[in-house]
């Protein structure tokens, strides 16, 4: 009873603290200096149609590298916590296989979903989307396979190589910018092209593709670990 009272007091106090913030929030009607600088630069300097992508991949590229690192560490943690013991890997599950409709539907949708994910991260500099979204869509395609086929096994060698290589190439592209142009993750070492076409924005689509592959393989890894845990 005391506990519940304390919780209510804590929540009411938080409301009292934050309410003045919400009342006095200043609603701007124009961009501040930094944001308008980013908007102008991403159009004139980088030829990136999606300004959010320009911010994520270029202006705040180091943040994104850190984010990919956090994702990698979380995946490693999930893998460590839900590690399967050797030997019980090949245990046949006694569950019923999924119905014909589910299996056919999943095998029909799987390549389309992968294709859609690749499209999302290749067009990250033009349309809403990018590496993270595309990677999640690819992982959802694998989730579909996991759900519809109980005996589905990931090829771990391929998964690990895709993950490691895409991460390494991401850093290498950043270092290439450092060597050629003097700043880390500078995508202007490739031709910039014209605004709004697929081959534009220098190395931004390339970097976002590597991020997409890395996120996709990492999330597939998480799905695989979690599936292994339930057995």
């Amino acid at each position: 009873m005391i506990k519940r009272l304390l919780i209510i007091v804590v929540i009411i106090l938080l409301i009292v603290i934050f309410l003045p913030f919400m009342k006095n929030v200043i609603l701007k009607d124009s961009l501040n200096e930094l944001s308008s600088g980013y908007v102008e630069k991403s159009v004139s300097d980088l030829k990136t149609a999606n300004i959010v992508t320009a911010v994520v991949v270029t202006f705040r590229g180091l943040d994104t590298l850190g984010e990919v690192t956090v994702l990698f560490i979380a995946t490693a943690g999930v893998g460590l916590l839900l590690k399967r013991k050797k030997g019980e890997k090949s245990k046949k599950s006694d569950k019923r296989p999924a119905s014909e409709i589910l299996q056919t539907g999943a095998s029909f949708l799987f390549p389309l979903t992968i294709l859609f994910g690749v499209y999302i991260f290749l067009h990250g500099h033009l349309t809403p989307g990018g590496g993270f979204q595309g990677g999640v869509i690819i992982a959802s395609a694998f989730l579909l396979l996991l759900l519809s086929n109980i005996n589905f096994q990931f090829n771990h060698t391929v998964l690990h190589w895709v993950e490691s290589l895409s991460g390494a190439f991401y850093v290498l592209l950043g270092l290439l910018g450092l060597i050629l142009l003097g700043s880390f993750l500078n995508p202007k070492f490739l031709p910039l092209g014209t605004l709004g076409t697929l081959f534009s924005a220098g190395a931004v689509p390339l970097i976002y593709s590597f991020i997409g592959l890395k996120v996709g393989s990492e999330l597939s890894n998480i799905l695989d670990s979690m599936r292994g845990a339930e057995e």
Binding site: I7, F18, D29, E40, A49, I51, L81, P128, A229
Partner: protein
């Protein structure tokens, strides 16, 4: 005052309440996810400028008038980052829950007294 700001705040409070009162470990993780969503909503709202559009160039948002037409791209980029991190952290927490359950065969927080303050 924007309504999405209030909505984000309410979501944050619901999540906090769930984390503080629920006993089931999975429900605590769900509470964390709800807090996450509330925070994302608040960050996006702060970057929104009324009457303006997404920061993506097309026929209407041309390079010449982009600065006048788009909302702040930085909070959007931050939320993009935060969603992925939130997903990874939720997955990590869920795997902790699975591990704890395997060890102690219980999902109630009351059975884990080692970290009680």
């Amino acid at each position: 005052m924007r309504y999405t700001l209030i909505l984000g705040f309410i979501l944050f409070m619901i999540g906090l309440w769930a984390m503080l009162t629920r006993k089931n470990l999975f429900k605590i993780v769900i509470g964390f996810s709800i807090i996450d969503t509330g925070v994302h909503l608040i960050i996006v709202t702060i970057g929104y400028l009324s009457g303006k559009t997404a920061p993506i160039l097309d026929k209407l948002v041309t390079p010449a008038n982009a600065v006048q037409k788009v909302v702040d791209p930085i909070p959007s980029a931050l939320v993009l980052t935060a969603i992925v991190i939130g997903l990874a952290v939720t997955a990590l927490m869920l795997s902790y829950v699975v591990r704890l359950y395997k060890r102690r065969k219980s999902l109630s927080i009351e059975d884990y007294r080692e970290l009680k303050w």
